[in-house]
Symmetry: C2
Subunit: 412 residues, 2 copies
C-alpha cells in the first residue's frame, strides 16, 4: 500500500525510516499488503537524502494519486496542516497525524469530515509520543466512566524539573542543559509555559469525557517561576514538583481542567517519572487507576506510533474506527479558581512569629514546611482544601507579606 508523508522533520523522517526498514515485514505478519512511501511533501530541499526520488513540493500530486490510501501528516502547526488533512480525508484517504496542535484545535472538525467520508483520522502519536494511550483510552477503557486523567505530558519540562530536584540546579541552568541535549527548542516557550502539555490534556479530555476542549479555554501555567526553594520545601513534604495536566469530572458534572506545576506526593505513581519520560494516569470507575509510561517524545518513539496507526489503516482499509466526541460545551468547564484544593504557599514576611498566628487564624490547620538555609523572613506551608480565590482573598488581608509561590497539591 502506498502512503505519502507530509513534513520531513524529526517525526516525518522517522516514519519514512521505519517504513523503509520494515514496511513489508511487520504488516506481513497479519495482512497481505505492504507499506511503501511514495511521496514525501516538504517545501525544503534535502540534497543527498536517500529518498531523493520521492520528494515533492506539490500537495495536489498526493491528493490526486488514487494509489495513495493513507496520508501521514507530520508538518506540525494548524496551517496548512488542516487544509491538507481535510482535503485528503475528503478525497477518501485515511490520515494519520502526530500533530497535537492540529488535533487539539481542529480534531472535532477533522473527525467529523473523516466520518462523512468513511475514512479514519488517527492520532495515537499526538499524546505521549510512542506510549500507547489514545487507543487504550478510547477502546480498552470504553466500559469505564473516566473519573480523572492526570499526566506528565511534556518531556522537556519534566527533564528540567528532574534536574532541579536531583541536582539542585536552577531552572535557567537546567533549561540550558535541556537545550544542549536537544530536549528543548531554542525558543522553549511552548514547552516551559505549558502550552504543549495543554494541547495534550485537551485531547485526552475529549476522549475521556466526550466533549472537545479548546486549549484557549484551559488555564495553563508553566514552570518558569518554580524556584529551588519550592523544590526543597516539597521534598520536606515527601513530594516532588511536576508539571501536571489534569482533567477531572466534578460531582456537579463539570470538568476541572488545568495545566500547572503541582506538588506530587512520593506515593503517587507520577512522582517517580523522571527525565524526558511521560506518564498518564487514568482513573476509571471500574478499573481503578491505570498508568501508561514511556518516552513521550523523540524521533523513533513518536514515529513508531504513527506507523502503528498506518498499519491499522492498512489492515482495516474499509473499516472506520468509531472514535469521536461532541462539540465543546463551554459551560462544562469549571472555573479552576473556584475548585477547592490543597495548596502549597510560600511567603516572604516581615515577622515570622507575628504572622504565624494570623495564618492559623485565616487557614485553620496548616502544615508548616521547613528547609535548611531558610531565613526567618520566609514561611511555607500546605493548606487544607480552599479555592484559589479564597486563598488570594485571605492572603490579601495579611499586611507585610509577599506571595512568592502558590502551587496546587495534585490529587493523584
Amino acid at each position: 500500500m502506498n502512503i505519502a508523508v507530509m513534513g520531513y522533520g524529526t517525526v516525518g523522517s522517522g516514519v519514512v525510516e521505519i517504513i523503509n526498514k520494515r514496511g513489508t515485514k511487520i504488516v506481513g505478519k497479519s495482512s497481505p499488503c505492504e507499506l511503501s512511501v511514495k511521496y514525501i511533501l516538504d517545501l525544503r530541499d534535502f540534497p543527498g537524502d536517500p529518498n531523493a526520488g520521492k520528494f515533492t513540493k506539490d500537495f495536489n500530486k498526493i491528493l490526486n494519486d488514487e494509489s495513495i490510501k493513507v496520508v501521514v501528516e507530520t508538518m506540525g502547526g494548524v496551517n496548512p496542516a488542516f487544509d491538507f488533512t481535510s482535503s485528503a480525508l475528503k478525497a477518501g484517504k485515511h490520515v494519520v497525524t502526530s500533530n497535537k496542535e492540529l488535533v487539539a484545535e481542529k480534531g472535532l472538525e477533522l473527525l467529523s469530515i473523516a466520518k462523512e467520508n468513511n475514512v479514519n483520522f488517527l492520532f495515537e502519536a499526538s499524546v505521549g509520543g510512542g506510549i500507547p494511550i489514545i487507543r487504550p483510552l478510547s477502546v480498552c477503557l470504553a466500559a469505564n466512566e473516566v473519573k480523572s486523567i492526570n499526566g506528565i505530558l511534556n518531556g522537556t519540562t519534566n527533564f528540567i524539573l528532574t534536574k532541579m530536584i536531583s541536582d539542585n540546579m536552577s531552572f535557567e541552568a537546567a533549561l540550558k542543559i535541556a537545550q544542549e541535549n536537544g530536549y528543548a527548542e531554542k525558543d522553549p516557550t511552548a514547552d516551559v509555559e505549558g502550552h504543549d502539555a495543554c494541547r495534550k490534556i485537551c485531547i485526552l479530555a475529549a476522549l475521556g469525557f466526550g466533549n472537545h476542549v479548546y486549549p484557549k479555554n484551559v488555564h495553563c501555567e508553566g514552570i518558569t517561576k518554580i524556584m529551588l526553594e519550592d523544590v526543597a520545601y516539597a521534598s520536606s513534604y515527601d513530594s516532588v514538583i511536576k508539571l501536571i495536566g489534569t482533567a477531572e469530572k466534578l460531582e456537579d458534572g463539570k470538568l476541572y481542567i488545568i495545566v500547572s506545576p503541582a506538588v506530587v506526593k512520593l506515593s503517587s505513581q507520577l512522582s517517580s517519572v523522571n527525565d524526558v519520560f511521560n506518564a498518564v494516569l487514568v482513573d476509571g470507575d471500574e478499573v481503578g487507576e491505570v498508568v501508561f509510561y514511556g518516552k513521550g517524545a523523540g524521533k523513533l518513539p513518536t514515529a513508531s506510533a504513527v506507523v502503528a496507526d498506518v498499519i491499522d489503516c492498512a489492515n482495516h482499509q474499509d473499516t472506520r474506527r468509531l472514535i469521536g466526541w461532541e462539540n465543546e460545551n463551554p459551560d462544562i468547564i469549571a472555573d479552576y479558581k473556584t475548585i477547592p484544593n490543597q495548596y502549597y504557599i510560600r511567603l516572604m514576611v516581615e515577622d515570622y512569629t507575628a504572622v504565624l498566628p494570623k495564618l492559623k487564624n485565616l487557614f485553620g490547620n496548616i502544615h508548616l514546611l521547613a528547609r535548611s538555609g531558610a531565613g526567618t523572613h520566609e514561611i511555607a506551608f500546605i493548606t487544607e482544601k480552599f479555592t484559589e480565590t479564597d486563598i488570594r482573598n485571605k492572603l490579601s488581608t495579611l499586611k507585610g507579606s509577599d506571595l512568592k509561590s502558590l502551587i496546587r497539591v495534585a490529587n493523584c
Copy 2:
C-alpha cells in the same frame, strides 16, 4: 445487541453488572446499538439473583439464537470452555474471554477458527485484568520489533512478596493474610507456583514474538521457597524480589522465556509495583521501554476489560480485527539453563573465611551481600553473568556448602 455470558463467577457477574448498569450509555457514545445480556449460562442456581429470567443450563439455547452476536466466556478452565467457544465462533458469533488458561492452551486454534468464520476472538482481560495490554501490544506497538517483555503478572504473589518486603512477614503468614483478604484461593497453587503468571507470559510472548508458546514448555518457578533472608539480602543490594515473567528475543533468534522470582533493582520501573498491582514492561526497538500498570485482577477491573472487547465487537460487527500468530516452534525456545545471567546465590557454609577465596576463584568478581543477624555460616552474593548450568557445576565442587537460594537478577 444481545449478548450471552457463560460462567457467572466473579468476572462473569461483573460483566453482567457493568452491562446492566450502562449497556446503552457507553456504546451510545459512538454507535447506535445497545448492549443487553439475554442469557447467562451456568450449571449452578442463583436463587434471588436479580437476573433470574436470564439463566440457562443449556448452551444450545445460546448457540441457536441468531440474535446473540457476542458470547462472553468467563467460565475458566479449558473444558468445556474450548468446546463452547469454538462452537460459538463456528456459528458466526464473536467470542470475548477473560480465560487465560484457554488462550494460553488453545489460543492458536481458536484464533484460526475465528479467522475461518470471519469473527473475532478477543481476550484483553486474559492478561493484566483491566490494564490495557493485549491491544496496545498487538496494535499500538505494531511498528516495533519487540526486544523483551517483563511483567509482574500475578497480583496474589505480588501481594505476598510486598508483605514479606515491607512488613518482614514470612511467606506462610503473608499467604494467610492474602487468603483472608480474598486475594488468594483456598488452594493457592496456581498463583504461588507461578502457573497463572506462566499462562500470561505465554500469551504476551505469542503476541510479541509471533509464535504460540505452550505453558508446559516454559520453565516456571513459584515463590514458596523465598525466605526473609533473601528479601533482606536483596534490600542491601538496593533491590526487591518479585515474581517476574520474562520473554526475551536472544541474539540468535531464540526465545528466552521463564517465570521465576527475580532480584529487581530499585531503578527498574517494576520494583515499585506493590500489593495486588500488576505491570508489564515492553521494550521495543523504536519506542524503548513502555510500561502498563494497574490492578491486574478483581471483579470489576477484569469485567471492564471484557466489556471493552464486547463494545469493540458491537462497534465493528462486520470487521475482523487482524490478530494472530503462528504455531509453536519448539526449537525457538532456548533452554533457560544455558542463558548467561547474573544470579543471586545464598549458601550455608562450614567456614566463611575458607570458602570466600574458593568462591572468588570459581566466579571471579562477586558482589558480597550483608544482612543484620546473619551468622558466620551464611554467605550471599551476586555473580557476574553465568548460565545456571555453569553455576550449579561450579557450586558442586564446593565441599561443605549447602545451596539455599539461587535467584536470577532481572534485566529490566
